[in-house]
Point group: D2
Chain length 132, copies 4
Amino acid sequence: MGATEEAGRDGLGELIGIEHLDADEGEARARVAVVDRILQPYGLVHGGVYPVVAETICSKATYEAVAGEGKVAVGQSNSATFLRPISSGHVNAAARARHRGRTSWVWQVEITDDDGRLCALGEVVVAVRDSR
Amino acid sequence: MGATEEAGRDGLGELIGIEHLDADEGEARARVAVVDRILQPYGLVHGGVYPVVAETICSKATYEAVAGEGKVAVGQSNSATFLRPISSGHVNAAARARHRGRTSWVWQVEITDDDGRLCALGEVVVAVRDSR
Amino acid sequence: MGATEEAGRDGLGELIGIEHLDADEGEARARVAVVDRILQPYGLVHGGVYPVVAETICSKATYEAVAGEGKVAVGQSNSATFLRPISSGHVNAAARARHRGRTSWVWQVEITDDDGRLCALGEVVVAVRDSR
Amino acid sequence: MGATEEAGRDGLGELIGIEHLDADEGEARARVAVVDRILQPYGLVHGGVYPVVAETICSKATYEAVAGEGKVAVGQSNSATFLRPISSGHVNAAARARHRGRTSWVWQVEITDDDGRLCALGEVVVAVRDSR
């Protein structure tokens, strides 16, 4: 249920300001500038930002890889473990496909701050289905 | 790292339009109207919306319960499993605290559509720490 | 990859002494007597026991439900959150299927002690595939 | 709630035949020979074996690192995603501590078969508490 930008539109991604970066096959990267509207009241990036970014880039990358075979990509699960808060700079996300199966792709995502410190870990499972 | 509205502001929650509903001790409920900006390109609610709502209501409810003892609530993990897409009406979230420990609260979250069908399951762990 | 007892044998389940209890459609229950060999050095039930029990009963119940249609059940993910240790009596597991889809079943599992206190929460996703 | 071998005993680990291998600070490795008693009825390694191994080595390594400061290690959560079955040889587990905080350690675990293929991913969170 993630964003695939099939039609070039990704409302939630735009809303939080996801900037997609270059990616190789089986990898995806993006970043989000830390601005007021993605903070929670303590002045830290809202924990929900990490799964949004992870879901967006993993679904998009899976979709782009399987669309040519007439398949669609549908988010199946999304988990995030928070290690260290981010309060300025960027939320930097790097995703790596650890499994590219016929029926599901499994991604691991690392979130770092601008000093390269690991701030969150994520896992996204994307189901691959025949498009109807 | 979730929203607690300590200062009455919750940027990400407002961005996706979270409407907080009445809740009892150890429970929290909210809903989000399905509008274009929370959809992904297939016309389904973006999978990232569910963890955002879950993180927001569970962090907020934990904070409100422990703030009186001089504690703060800090999101520790957030996982969602997607069962059925939502494409109209509301995303309805109901969270229940299954464990209210001295150092962490564990919440289960159910996401339903306006017909009461179960659409996603979530778990949010919120650490409780002394405020400094 | 869980136990289905297709052939009446479940090595790991027997090893830790799983006792299967009556279950309805979409539900499964089992218990494990707390004996020395399932404890860790502090005298508490080893945390690995909970996912073993959860995997075993959810895979078995899914298998029994889909085998008649020529399908097999294959464990896809298993997560457990530990809330309170158990050191005597039984590990009681109750699983409920929250989603019974064409390609996957999603189970929630509650682990309680003999006083009915909630000790762990689990989620097991079982993929349903055509048997070859 | 994992095994720490404080007293040199680890019932469940012995039961499934965990062989602890050399490890550096912040890392832990072990393997389990594939024998009948850890298989499920299809002849594949029971999915519960992976979280048992992960819980055992991550709890043990955390305990060994913090015991000198008068702390104990208590399993908090354990999740596994299954990618590919193992049916012979060894279950090889390599764990890496991605976060070593004052109150919790977060480990990622990779399970491979004897051909080096990735078969499962795991995450174990171990709480660090003052011993009483």
